[in-house]
Subunit: 268 residues, 6 copies
């Protein structure tokens, strides 16, 4: 099924396999029910595009704080669709592009998608694609306008397209005119309870024994972190958590203390 | 008559048939008297241009919230005119154009129209044509100025032109200098009562039986939606409604619940 | 005399006859004494330029709300001068021009005028020539500066020039530096009393009988419009009035009601 | 002497005779002592440049409201110097120039002046040269910076230069950085008393008899204008006054009334 | 070990040895424990990159007031890594570059780094690289966007990269969107106690005898400087201190007094 | 010694002798002790650059109100260094340069200086080099950024450089990011007491006899100017004073009165 499909790889014409894998290098850890819900919603959108003739264009926004896994989830959904055309539009491949080069590159991907009966385009990191900076509220209006039109333009007869966009600046999107643009919006939350944290620690095998691991969780509880994530301010993206885990791994004798130290530092 | 004419297709020299059909793919559902009124007004403007020598130029604005059907209605009126020259000026075909390319493309359509004794031009989505973004109130002044002049410039002797413009940013139009530009303005309202909703559901045959349909309406009534649309905050554009209907269709066993869920979500 | 001359047409070297006629297509209706006063003032300026050697340059501004007839009156005065050089500088013929193309086109007309002993230039719609938009107070400073200099630059020895400018944005002109630029300013008012309205209705022969016409006036009086224009808020430009009249004409059975309906709608 | 020299014309190498005469076409009317004082000061600056080796560069600003005669007085002083190099830098000859063309043209005049042992440059209408507009406080910083440097740059060894600049926007000059730039500043005032007005009327021979003239003055006194200009708000530039006089001349039967009418209109 | 490695020089393919040495010309003086801590942290990041496959990209920010030694410390850490690819991206080598030349030069260094299995890039003085000026909050958004993407873009498979950035405008970095960009941030503090000062004076051998040196410290204590740096406002970057020391050296007879004078001047 | 050296001229390879002399045409008048102090400080910086290997780059800012002699003093210090490379970077030689031409010209001088073992660069009038205008706080960020980098960039090994910058806009320098840029800042004050004024008058031999001169001083004292400059508002730059003296010289019979008149005018 879909969940399993995420693990497999199906090379196909028009699919940028390598780029997609690059952004899900560390896999998807199912640390919380919400992860499965997001993937399931994605599966439904894929099906709608595949089957409904009345909605040849469906667009979804994955949003949430930096580093919560928006890109990895978006790419996973796209990959699992097994559509003949799957592309990633990412600022990573457009460094130093002029406004018009960006617009051209983006438009090209959409134009190409119109040649395939079924397509998915992941438009990653909208705020970076439009060169957004909070200071002076600067951004590329040319790229913005292109996205606004492309996100609303129906593919030609007989073609169907799923757009998966990601952003960590949801409020800005409204300010620049993206309200009512998406058919659906899914929030990707940070890790905010100890159960999810423990799940991740087990998956990445940071500790030799589960005793050690439980010890760390206990310490964190004593430091004021609470298991249910409600009363505590503890919030961390999976990306930063994985990075902290690797830093802690540097000092084998002291892993537990380095990790709790870093997490407690965050909590303040 | 006019109402029926909307259903037929009359290929003619200078008419961009395909583009027009693309924007009314899902047809016009006559869910409310106001739909007919708008089409009837359109018919009158068409007649005025056809017959009155003193007003060789007539311009109308269709405005209303996103997704209420402005483009589809404008295109329908244009198509029904059966004028020899009917064109759609749409941001969809100008992605990535520079300011001056846009101005040139727009001006070209007007210049071409002056060669036909009778013409209709649909200028779709003014705010997108001028690259409007609320943040920083940015827009292309070059395109704006071209539109302001073209909307007021009389066609040469013996030529007559009907301009149908659409916008979901009516207040902005005043701010940028469009007041007093149009001979007439027509507001396209969202669906805001259950009777209209039921009409649509019947037309798209979402449910197998009319019992099921009535059941959904009843549920919505119980959820606080009222039939007359006055006391409730329920408002939805036909475009979004059609999209929700297709999403609901994805889960055949659960259509009614998915639809009411989505609509109730909106109402908040 | 001058009044009659307005009716005649005198083709002459350097006169853009066709353009002038285009803007007074519907003629001048003498619905109020102020119309004659404006034409008479224009005649005096024409004479001053023709005779006084000390003021080889005279500039006049016709200003007033949109659609009151500024362009038609300016063109009429120019045409009646019978000067060998009469030109219209209008945004209509500069759609899509760059700033520098506009400046070049405008400057060219002035340079050409310096070759004729007597010239009139109608500079129509200053705010549109300078690409003015209220949002962000944007405009072309290059065109503005060119106008400021050209409006104050004396023609070479032995040449005389009358400049007739029009604008519906009088207050803006002061803000951008046009104060003290014109030798004289004439306000063109809207129609604001029933007598003038009745005069127009008679001239355009909207009704078959004068009874019908008087009936309409009476209805308007009852609707609160007053004959002297003082106590009522009723104000309409001749251009919009003529457009409403043509719309009303579309439904022969219902002319009177459509017209009063439209006018009452305005009054609110 | 100097006063007389103003009347004569001395063609010389490097002198733009024609342009200078163009701007003093209507001559200098000595309607007030201040006119002579300004000309006398100008004469002294000319002498300082001619004789003092320690101040090879002297710059003077003539400022005052629009139309008071700044340009005519500046040109008169320059012409009377009889220096081998006399040039007028005026916005009139730079319509449509780009920023860099303006800078080049201005710089060229200064570079040329450095070839003459003695030079005068009249830099007319600074605010127009820098494309100043009050709305948005826009101006050409490139031209401004060029002027700031050129006004302070010493000519090469053995060369001497007098700069006479004019402006009707004295306060702006300070705001854009022109304070401390000029060695001296002279204010050119408007006409503000009836004696000066009468002097002008006599000079231009508007009336056949001096009785008529005195009659007009009397009427103005009765209308509230006072002879000493202190208690009244009556202020008019010589340029506008001469223009009003010519308008009045248009209706020979009614000269007195038209003139007083126009002047009284001003006073309000 | 690492500390010693800083003193040695290991020429290697892809290492800009000379540039690195240029910025640590005056060596690293270990005047405070924090200096060693920063170098030790740097060493750990180097190790993480060398060993952990899950974090192929690690980025660190060295920030602190002007002249505290950020660049020298960053370069020292890079040099000590002995990675085959070590480069310095510095505004010093980009004077007069256009925005796009800067972006190209920066992107080139990153692209080159991707060819080496292990790389360090020192991105020096971010605020200068982006042409930041506080007045009007101006900066190059093009360079900023390039840095934002490059700092977050994973190197290709099998490549690992350590980024060491420096800035003396930490708060600005947040304002322009750099929050959450770095894996770690290290603050480089100024010298703020007399013990550290005395350490430096001894190292640079400003005084012939240690008596003289202690005398100066005593004078400073009397002038209100306190040894613990808590109660006093005395704060100085190592760079400025070294410069003051050299100025004092100019007057051999008066070294002590010149130095204390300069330091006391600072303290105000 | 240094003081005397200022009077002599030592032509040398890489020295722009002529330009330097141009700016000190009227010599240096030692009207106050502060003049000597500034020159003495300059001499010390020259020595530091000549001798200290640890500070191969020293930068000094001369600042003060317009016309106090900053440029002349900077040029004098540079000339007295007798370094093989002495250049003046001045806005005077860059009129009409584009931003990038300016940056190129400035960068070129620094690059050239790196070829000489010992160099002085006088960077005159920073605010003009960066096209600063207070209105709208406009300036060339490109030139500013180039200066910021060049003022902090160490010359290559074995090269030493003294930078002497001047500015009459000290507060602006901080606002645009120049704080902490200079190793030292020297304030050049205006003349503000009668003793200094008398010294200047004697040096320039304005009066035939010292009696006349003393008479003037007495008059100024009576007019409220005080000898110590504390209680009075009298402040004048040496440049303006020399200019006033030359103006007064124009009327030999009236020198004293013209001078006191002008000075009293200033004091208000
Ligand atoms: N449940 C999960 N969801 C998403 N990512 C996961 C999950 N489990 C592990 N990961 C890993 O965590 C990382 C998430 O990083 P990703 O770049 O997708 O985050 P992001 O939200 O897009 O960050 P940014 O805000 O910087 O764009 C990836 O390396 C991914 O393989
Ligand atoms: N009565 C109706 N009026 C308009 N459109 C209708 C109607 N009934 C069905 N439709 C369908 O609804 C859709 C309306 O979408 P359309 O693009 O015209 O809306 P819009 O208001 O122009 O949206 P936007 O604000 O995004 O431009 C079309 O697919 C059209 O075929
Ligand atoms: N008395 C009149 N004065 C002016 N125009 C009149 C008069 N009577 C009839 N007309 C007709 O009315 C129309 C006036 O339109 P015109 O374009 O001159 O108005 P305008 O004030 O220039 O409008 P805008 O503000 O849009 O530039 C013309 O068609 C003209 O022929
Ligand atoms: N005493 C006078 N001083 C100046 N000009 C005079 C005088 N007497 C007559 N004139 C005439 O008055 C006119 C003054 O116009 P001028 O263009 O010099 O004014 P201005 O102050 O430069 O105007 P603007 O503010 O528009 O630049 C000229 O035609 C000049 O010949
Ligand atoms: N402990 C130290 N840490 C850093 N630099 C030191 C230390 N001891 C001596 N130095 C010397 O001090 C100078 C520090 O200057 P550096 O340019 O690194 O400072 P910076 O903080 O980068 O300055 P800026 O804010 O101007 O970029 C270098 O010459 C370096 O050799
Ligand atoms: N003691 C002095 N210091 C400086 N200049 C002096 C002194 N005595 C005489 N001078 C003369 O005074 C003039 C000073 O002008 P300078 O251009 O140096 O002033 P500045 O402060 O640079 O002016 P600006 O603010 O316009 O740049 C020069 O001509 C110089 O020869
Ligand atoms: Mg992402
Ligand atoms: Mg639409
Ligand atoms: Mg008009
Ligand atoms: Mg003038
Ligand atoms: Mg640094
Ligand atoms: Mg100077």
């Amino acid at each position: 099924d879909f969940m399993n499909a995420l693990e497999e790889v199906h090379p196909a014409f028009g699919v940028s396999e390598e780029e997609l894998q690059q952004v899900i290098q560390n896999g998807i850890i199912h640390f919380d029910g919400v992860v499965d819900e997001i993937l399931r919603s994605g599966e439904l959108f894929v099906e709608q595009v595949r089957t409904s003739t009345r909605t040849p264009l469906v667009s979804v926004l994955l949003h949430g704080p930096p580093g919560v896994g928006k890109t990895a989830l978006g790419a996973s959904i796209a990959q699992a669709s097994e559509f003949p055309f799957i592309k990633l539009i990412s600022p990573d491949s457009m460094v130093g592009y002029s406004e018009s080069q960006k617009v051209a590159a983006i438009t090209k991907v959409f134009a190409d998608s119109y040649k395939s009966p079924l397509s998915v385009i992941v438009v990653d990191n909208i705020e970076r694609l439009i060169d957004w900076t909070p200071m002076g509220a600067r951004f590329s209006n040319a790229v913005l306008q292109a996205l606004l039109v492309l996100f609303g333009r129906r593919p030609p007869k007989g073609r169907r397209l799923l757009i998966i966009a990601t952003s960590s600046q949801r409020p800005i999107l409204t300010d620049i005119g993206f309200s009512e643009t998406f058919d659906s919006e899914l929030r990707v939350p940070p890790i905010s309870n100890l159960r999810a944290l423990e799940f991740v620690l087990r998956e990445v095998e940071l500790f030799q024994s589960s005793d050690e691991r439980r010890q760390v969780i206990k310490q964190l509880q004593e430091a004021g972190f609470e298991g249910d994530g409600l009363s505590s301010k503890f919030q961390i993206g999976i990306k930063k958590l994985l990075s902290m885990i690797e830093m802690a791994r540097q000092e084998p004798d002291d892993v537990a203390q380095r990790l709790t130290g870093a997490l407690v530092g965050l909590g303040m």
